[in-house]
Structures are given as structure tokens and as C-alpha cells.
């Protein structure tokens, strides 16, 4: 009993939503968490991870059930528990007008850290987060990854008996994500800290001693990562598409057959897929035809996808699988060799600060082009210039055959833009939003009505639903439908998959694949490195510089060539290697100068 940090029995949490009514966030949940180890809560968006964290922190009062944290009834004595734990909410509340040091001081004072311990602790935190240089900087002026690290440092100004981390790596680039984990890992090793961490990254869950898979407020499965991974044993394969076919087209074919295939994702020019356990052997062979497949070792991600698919009430009708049919009347834009986006020596400065330095690249028609980079790399700035939302300081910029300096309005009519945040009117219905944005693009009458009808069918939307109340995945679809209403040649998507669960992300990429087949050019930014595998070409930016550009395979090769000794297996590894090699080169140059 002494070694249990958390014990929950029949826990139930219900929220009253004025629009939807009663929402069950935690449903008859019971669990036991061991002390002194790393425990992960994984699950799609809306699984109840955050609600469970808040219950553990004594911030919510459940409708039913009992909950003991560190041997104390947290429902009766929340303050007693709060005195002993440290909690980092998803959005850590840094005081943006206070400096890094002042934020640390505040939390140290609140936790009553004695002055003699403080010096040692701060020194260690600042060293681990690599922020010793920035102690005077206001927290609001830090990049997203740095803010997250400072949040963690503030949470860890003292050694708590239990550390709760709620999705600390959401919206954080791979480098900062690695740093965050290094800090947590070190504390677990040094101090035998009990940590509960919620995450949507499976590679993070794999580092934990025990994993709880949550969905719809319940625990689907729990166990060590190895035990969970074993659920997918014997079902995982890699398929190699015929030469000349992009992996994503094979991936699309496989994922369109949910009765046979649990999941499929492109990787390194091939497709990783999971077979349904009870799939008919003959049908599988018919689907694959003469495509070469090879078994591969199962991973936690595979088991997770299997668990989630089993929970789905009905096999997903991927909205874009019919896209090609419903839009058959659209004349296909000719696939020619002339690039649709031409960028030459593009520069953007904000005062003394160079956000984008001398960048050049082309994007061909129908290509999926991925723009990757750590937080603050200049992705968003590049993106905004391409969309004509921000004038360039210098350089040439041609989009859809128009020069953005002289013909911005004409260029804009040819592009669609889906912003990172939900930028539609939440209190309008789906149809009203489509009508409004269609009108804004100058469409009206029958033409508009026809296109709205198509869009609703293509994206499988409910026209009378209130936009603001849609689940995240559907909001994404509506945003895409809106951005595509005027049939743009180029679609710009800024981090479209942040905060969307894995199943919705699969459906999203299925739509992108279909659009690209129709000849729409896609430019996309993302933090999920595995999504880069869907792209024809990717570019990696850091500190405003274009570091590398090429197909995912080329990028991986180059990264592996430059990395001495370190293994570059996934796109995530490649990304880290490319950025670090470049930063090391800069450091050497600075040292030489």
C-alpha cells in the first residue's frame, strides 16, 4: 500500500455544457499507480487525460468515486495534496511580463524553498534548460519551446513527492521535446521521483515504466510498454510500392480498407501497415496484389492504433476517398513542368532581427511541400509571405504565376489558406460559414450553392451543426472545405494537425493525398515529423536559414551522412541531426571568428 501514489475507484466526472448538455469526461475509472516510476497516460484528444490530471491535482470535484493521492483523500483535503505535488498544466501559466528569474523566484517563494537550497536548484534548472543566459529576459519574449522548458523549471523548483505533467510536449519542436525529456529522465534517475505524464507521442510513452491507454474517459488497457506492444505481434508489415508511385498512394489504398487494415502510414518510401487480426487471407492478398511485403517488429504505436480502432463505433468513412468522384466535373489543371511557387533570395527582417534569411526554393504543381523547423525557425514568417499576408523585405516571390509584389490580389484569388487556429465563426452553422467565406471570395447564387453542396458531401459535414461545437477533427475539415471553396491552385496549411488525434490525422492526410492527385499544390507546416513522410519534398528551416531541401529519403540520407555515430532511423532523428549539425557548424564558425 505504501508504494501506491494514486488509487482511484469508480471515478466519474461530468461537465455541464450549456450547448451540448452533459458531457462525461471520466467514466467509472479505476486505477492504481506505483510510486517511484514514470507513468504515462496516452490517448486521443478528448480521452479525459487533462481531466484526470486536474482531478489528481485537486482542481476538480468528481461526481462520484474516490481518489487517493500520496495516501491522502484529495477530494477532502486538496490543499494537503497540493502542498506535496508539482503540477505542470498543458498551458503553464508563466507571467509573461516577469523575467525568467522572477518567475522562478515566485514559484520558489510559493513552495517555501529555503534560500540555501535555492541557489543549487536554480543553477541546476537553468543549466538543464540551457537558459542561464536568458534570466533577465521577460518570459513573454521566449520561444514556445523555451517557455515550456521554463514552465517545467518553475514546476521543479523543489523536489515534489509526485510530479504531474499534462502534455508537456504539445506544440514543441523535436529538439525542445528531447531536452524536456532529458530533464524529466534525470530527475527520475537521481531522485526516484514519481511522475505521471500525459502525452500523445508514443515514443514518449515507450520510455515509461507503465502506460495507461485512455479513451472516452475510460482505461482501455494498461501495462508495461512491452506488454502492450505485444498485442500487435505478428500483424505488422512493411509494403514497398512499385517504383515511381509515391508511398502515400499505396498508403491511401490500404487505409481505405478498414476491414483488412488497421492502420497504414508512409515511411522512408515504404508503407508500414497493421493487418486486422481477423482479416481474410484471400482478401488481403487480393488487396496487395503483387506488392512486396515484409514483416517488421511491432511497436507501441501499432498496439495503440489497434486499441483505438477497436473503440471506433463504425469503420471510418474517409471523407476524401470519394473526393475524386464528387469533383469529377472539375477540369483537372494540366500538370506541367513550370513551378507554381518560385522563391528567390527571400528575406524578411523585423528591425534588426532577420526572421528569414536569403531563402530560395520552387514548388511544382500538384506537389506536397512540407516546411519543417523548430519553434521560431521562421516557418510562419515564410508562410505568411507566400500567402501575401506579409510583404517581403527583399527577394523575388512568385505564386501561381503572379508576382506577389505587384499582383498580390490576383495571386490571393489562386490560393487557399487554412490558419493554425480555428479562424471560422464558432457561433455560425457549418453552412453559414461556407456561405460567408464563399461570398467573401466573390461567389454567389447557384455557383456558390453548388460548391457548398459539393464541399459538404466531400468532407462529410453536417450543414446545420454549429461550427464552434464540432470536434477538433471536424473543425479541421470545415476549415479545409472553406479554404478550398474557390478552387484554389495552391492550398497553404499552417500546422493543421496540432491537437488532432491520430485517427483524425489519418483521415486528414487521406484528404490531402486525394487533393494532390487532383493537381492541387499543397504547402504545409507540421511538428509531427512522421507526417513529413507524406510530402514529396520537405525543407528544414532553423533561425531563418534554409538548411536542407529534398525528398524525405534524400533528407534522411544527408542527415545520416553528417551524423557521426548517431543512428538516423526516423524522420524525427533526421530532423534533430540536421538542425544540430547546422548549429554546431555555426558555433565552430563563431569560435573561429
Amino acid at each position: 500500500m505504501r508504494d501506491l501514489t494514486v488509487r482511484a475507484e469508480g471515478l466519474r466526472q461530468v461537465f455541464d455544457d450549456p450547448d451540448i448538455g452533459e458531457v462525461v469526461a471520466i467514466d467509472e475509472l479505476s486505477l492504481e499507480i506505483q510510486a517511484g516510476e514514470l507513468t504515462a497516460l496516452v490517448g486521443p484528444d478528448g480521452a479525459g487525460k487533462t481531466t484526470l490530471m486536474r482531478l489528481l491535482a485537486g482542481l476538480l470535484k468528481p461526481a462520484a468515486g474516490s481518489l487517493t493521492v500520496l495516501g491522502t483523500d484529495v477530494l477532502k483535503h486538496p490543499q494537503a495534496v497540493q502542498d506535496r505535488i508539482s503540477y505542470m498544466p498543458q498551458r503553464f501559466g508563466l507571467y509573461e511580463d516577469l523575467s525568467v528569474q522572477e518567475n522562478l523566484d515566485l514559484y520558489a517563494d510559493l513552495h517555501g524553498v529555503p534560500p540555501d537550497q535555492r541557489k543549487e536548484r536554480f543553477g541546476r534548472m537553468l543549466e538543464m534548460t540551457d537558459m542561464a543566459r536568458f534570466t533577465d529576459r521577460p518570459a513573454g519574449k521566449l520561444s514556445g519551446g523555451m517557455k515550456q522548458k521554463l514552465g517545467l523549471a518553475c514546476t521543479l523548483v523543489r523536489s515534489p513527492d509526485l510530479l504531474l505533467l499534462d502534455e508537456p510536449s504539445v506544440g514543441v519542436d523535436p529538439l525542445s521535446r528531447r531536452d524536456l525529456w532529458a530533464i524529466v529522465q534525470q530527475l527520475v534517475d537521481d531522485e526516484r521521483l514519481s511522475v505521471i505524464i500525459s502525452t500523445s507521442y508514443m515514443d514518449e510513452a515507450e520510455r515509461c515504466a507503465r502506460v495507461f491507454v485512455m479513451d472516452k474517459g475510460r482505461i482501455l488497457a494498461d501495462g508495461t510498454p512491452a506488454a502492450l506492444t505485444a498485442k500487435a505481434a505478428g500483424l505488422t508489415f512493411t509494403a514497398t510500392p512499385p517504383a515511381g508511385t509515391p508511398a502515400r498512394e499505396l498508403q491511401a489504398r490500404l487505409i481505405d480498407h478498414p476491414s483488412l487494415v488497421v492502420d497504414a502510414v508512409p515511411e522512408a518510401g515504404r508503407v508500414r501497415f497493421i493487418r486486422q487480426p481477423d482479416a481474410d487471407q484471400a482478401k488481403c492478398e487480393a488487396l496487395l496484389g503483387d506488392i512486396r511485403t515484409a514483416p517488421r517488429a511491432e511497436e507501441l504505436e501499432d498496439a495503440f492504433m489497434m486499441l483505438l480502432r477497436q473503440q471506433q463505433d463504425e469503420p471510418p468513412q474517409s471523407p476524401a476517398s470519394q473526393a475524386a468522384e464528387s469533383d469529377a466535373d472539375v477540369p483537372m489543371p494540366p500538370r506541367d513542368e513550370k513551378p507554381v511557387i518560385v522563391v528567390r533570395d527571400l528575406v524578411r527582417k523585423f528591425g534588426d532581427f532577420t526572421a528569414v534569411a536569403s531563402t530560395s526554393f520552387d514548388v511544382g504543381r500538384g506537389e506536397i511541400f512540407g516546411l519543417l523547423g523548430p519553434n521560431g525557425a521562421g516557418k510562419t514568417t515564410t508562410f505568411r509571405m507566400l500567402c501575401g499576408l506579409l510583404p517581403a523585405t527583399s527577394g523575388q516571390l512568385e505564386v501561381a504565376g503572379r508576382n506577389l509584389r505587384t499582383a498580390r490580389a490576383q495571386a490571393r484569388a489562386k490560393i487557399g489558406y487554412v490558419a493554425q487556429k480555428f479562424a471560422l465563426y464558432g457561433n455560425l452553422s457549418v453552412r453559414q460559414n461556407l456561405e460567408f467565406f464563399g461570398g467573401a471570395y466573390g461567389m454567389r447564387g447557384r455557383e456558390l450553392a453548388g460548391r457548398i453542396k459539393n464541399a459538404i458531401a466531400q468532407f462529410d459535414l453536417d450543414p446545420s451543426a454549429q461550427s464552434g461545437l464540432l470536434p477538433a477533427g471536424y473543425k479541421q475539415r470545415l476549415a479545409m472545405a472553406t479554404g478550398l471553396l474557390h478552387r484554389p491552385e495552391i492550398l497553404f496549411l499552417d500546422e493543421p494537425t496540432s491537437g488532432i488525434d491520430p485517427l483524425a490525422r489519418r483521415a486528414f492526410w487521406r484528404t490531402i493525398t486525394a487533393l494532390s492527385k487532383e493537381g492541387v499544390t499543397i504547402v504545409i507546416t507540421t511538428h509531427f515529423m512522421e507526417e513529413a513522410e507524406y510530402c514529396d519534398r520537405i525543407a528544414i528551416q532553423d533561425a531563418g536559414e534554409m538548411l536542407i531541401i529534398g525528398t524525405p529519403a534524400e533528407v534522411r540520407e544527408k542527415a545520416a551522412a553528417g551524423a557521426d555515430g548517431e543512428t538516423v532511423r526516423t524522420m524525427n532523428d533526421a530532423f534533430i541531426a540536421v538542425v544540430e549539425q547546422n548549429r554546431a557548424r555555426h558555433d565552430r564558425q563563431r569560435a573561429a571568428a
Binding site: F15, R54, A57, G58, L59, L60, K61, P78, Q79, Q82, D83, I85, S86, Y87, M88, P89, R91, F92, G93, L94, Y95, E96, D97, L98, E102, D105, L106, Y107, D109, L110, H111, G112, G151, C154, T155, L164
Partner: protein
């Protein structure tokens, strides 16, 4: 030990609030510059004192006696006469707003005066009742003075200035009433302003930025949060109070008949109530925009309209009287006016201090409840 920990948390939080307050320029503009502007605006700009009011003097009788009688108008700092000969002409002027009053000297004035019953007609533009009343006073004074001078010089006919009756009538607003204690009332307004515009944002801002969620899961107690948010703004309010008192004494020469210490202490008590009111609204709404709108409507506007600052509460309907009695501002308004004009009238002081203290305790308790470390 517990008390020490609590105190050091309170110090840490207060330091944080003070830093946040000082780093946002707009706080200082609203907290210090706006009160200074209000003092000058209400003290000078909105003064009801009249200078160079235009009086159309219609001389239907232009005997030397008459001219002497009205000559006093020209010598007044407050009035500037416009000489004319026909009544319709003067009426046209007052209608057009070119004259503030008409002084009519009827053709039989000299004759009646010698019989001891001279009558002058003064017509006032009652659109602005305060100005009208002032002009009445100045005109009567000026004419009476002039006649007394004549009498002193031995002109027997003017032996008794009382022989003249000035018959006046106010146009456009027959009642013409106004009550008036501008500068003491200004203290109420300024103290209310800080609560309404500054502290009303504090808790809502922490909700909006998500900083409370992190703060809740620390040993911090709700009451510590409330007190740390009050402290820096009490200092701002104290500075404003000193500004108001200095202006009252040295710029506007308002009498200060009650004791200065009681004025200061009761003002600080009301300041606390006003700040706590802003905080409570902030904690209830959890949204900066809603909080500032609410605070404006629920504390600042009523303090201006319903506390007896502009309108005399004795003349308002019962419903409004009930509402105004529920406002802390009303009680402090009557206290501060009494302290300035009447002096240390203890029953009034005791009553108001008790009421304000109750409000203070109630609001701080209610605010503490809005920070009950719960997210639902």
C-alpha cells in the same frame, strides 16, 4: 511556522503584483494620470462660476438716474452688458443664445423710483439653471451697489435702495435647482475609478492567461491571492488621495472642517471597498472585457450618477433611492461631504464607517470564494 510561511508567500505574491503593475504603463496612466486630469477637469473645467455673462440691457427709460443705476453692471467682473433699446431685439438674442439674461428698464422706472417703488425686470436663460442663478445674484448685487453709491452721494431720491424691487423670472426651466459639492465628491470618484478600471482586470487576466491553474497547485491560499492583489493598488489609491486633498486645499480652497485624519482613514477604508468590489467582479466574470464593462456599469457609473455626486438624492424616486443606498459610494459620499463642510459629526462618521467596513469584509470574503482553487 505556518504564519511565517504564509507571510513569505504573501510577500512573494505582492512583489509579483507590484512588478506587473509597474511594467504595464497603462496601469499608471489610469491610476495616476487620469485622477490628476479628473481633478483639474472637475475643479476648473466644470466650474459653475460665471464670468463675463452677457446681459442684454433694454433701456426703455434713459434718464440719468436710470443710467446711473445700471452703470454698476459694466463695472462687474462677472457681467458684460450689451446696451439696446427694444425688447423684441433682446428676446431674439436670448433665444439665439447670444445673451444669458435681459435686464429691462421700463419707461416709467424713473417716475416709479421717485415714488419709492421702482421696478426692473430681469429675464434669465434657464437652460442652464446654475448659470441663471449666478447671474441673478451678480445682477442684483451690482444694481443694489450702484444705488447705494448714489444714496451716499446725498441724492435724496435714492435714500433707500430698498425702493427698487427686482422682479425676476426664469425662462425654460422654472425651478432651476442644483446642489453642489464638487471637490469632496471627486475623492469618491477617484477612489472608485481605481477599483473599477484596475483591480477589475486582475483575476480575470490570470484566468484568461491560465496562470491560476499553475498557481493553484502550490501551497498558496486564496486569501493570500486576494490580499496580494489589493496591496499595490492601495498604494496607488493613497497617492491619488493625497493629490485630491492637496488640490482641495490649495487649488480650490474647499473648507476642511472635519479632522484630516478621519478624512484620510475613511477614504482609505472606502478605497479598500472599491478595490475589493473590482476584484470580486473580476473573479466572478473570469473575463477581462466583461469584468471591465461590469465594473464600469456596477461601480463607476452609479458612483457618478446615484451617489449624490451630481444629483441630489432627496429628489429622486424611491426606487433610485433604494438602489443608491445599496451603493458603498453613497455612504462614503455623504460622509466625506459632512467631513468637509460640517465637521466631525460623530453619529454620521460611526454609521458610515460601520457600513463600509461590512462591505469591505463581505467583498473580500466573496472574492476569496471566487479563488477557491477549483476549475469547475
Amino acid at each position: 511556522m505556518i504564519a511565517v510561511a504564509s507571510f513569505s508567500r504573501l510577500v512573494a505574491l505582492t512583489r509579483k503584483e507590484t512588478r506587473q503593475m509597474l511594467r504595464d504603463r497603462s496601469n499608471l496612466v489610469v491610476g495616476l494620470v487620469l485622477p490628476a486630469v479628473l481633478i483639474l477637469l472637475f475643479g476648473y473645467g466644470l466650474s459653475f462660476d460665471v464670468t463675463d455673462a452677457r446681459v442684454a440691457v433694454v433701456l426703455e427709460d434713459s434718464s440719468p438716474v436710470t443710467l446711473n443705476a445700471v452703470a454698476g453692471l459694466a463695472g462687474s467682473d462677472y457681467l458684460s452688458p450689451i446696451w439696446m433699446h427694444s425688447m423684441p431685439e433682446a428676446e431674439a438674442m436670448i433665444r439665439a443664445g447670444e445673451a444669458d439674461a435681459i435686464l429691462r428698464v421700463p419707461s416709467e422706472f424713473t417716475r416709479d423710483l421717485s415714488h419709492g417703488s421702482g421696478t426692473l425686470q430681469l429675464i434669465l436663460n434657464g437652460v442652464d439653471s446654475n448659470t441663471a442663478q449666478s447671474i441673478e445674484g451678480y445682477a442684483t448685487g451690482a444694481i443694489t451697489n450702484a444705488l447705494e453709491h448714489l444714496a451716499d452721494r446725498g441724492d435724496a431720491r435714492f435714500g433707500d435702495a430698498g425702493g427698487i424691487t427686482l422682479v425676476q423670472r426664469t425662462w425654460f426651466n422654472e425651478a432651476g435647482t442644483s446642489t453642489w459639492f464638487l471637490v469632496p465628491g471627486l475623492i469618491v470618484l477617484v477612489m472608485t475609478l481605481i477599483g473599477a478600471f484596475l483591480t477589475s482586470l486582475l483575476i480575470a487576466r490570470e484566468w484568461e492567461r491560465g496562470t491560476l491553474e499553475s498557481l493553484f497547485v502550490t501551497p498558496v491560499r486564496p486569501l493570500e491571492l486576494v490580499l496580494s492583489k489589493l496591496a499595490p493598488y492601495l498604494v496607488i489609491g493613497a497617492i491619488d488621495l493625497v493629490m485630491c486633498l492637496l488640490a482641495a486645499k490649495f487649488l480650490f480652497h474647499v473648507p476642511m472642517r472635519g479632522s484630516l485624519w478621519i478624512i484620510v482613514l475613511s477614504s482609505m477604508l472606502y478605497l479598500l471597498v472599491s478595490l475589493a468590489m473590482g476584484l470580486w467582479i473580476s473573479g466572478v466574470t473570469r473575463n477581462q472585457f466583461a469584468a471591465s464593462q461590469m465594473a464600469l456599469l456596477a461601480s463607476f457609473m452609479p458612483a457618478m450618477m446615484l451617489s449624490g455626486f451630481v444629483f441630489d438624492l432627496r429628489n429622486v424616486p424611491l426606487v433610485v433611492q433604494v438602489i443608491s443606498q445599496a451603493l458603498p459610494a453613497t455612504h462614503f459620499m455623504s460622509l466625506v461631504k459632512t467631513l468637509f463642510m460640517v465637521g466631525n459629526y460623530w453619529p454620521e462618521i460611526a454609521k458610515s464607517v460601520v457600513i463600509l467596513s461590512l462591505y469591505g469584509v463581505l467583498l473580500i470574503w466573496a472574492t476569496r470564494r471566487t479563488l477557491a482553487k477549483r476549475l469547475d
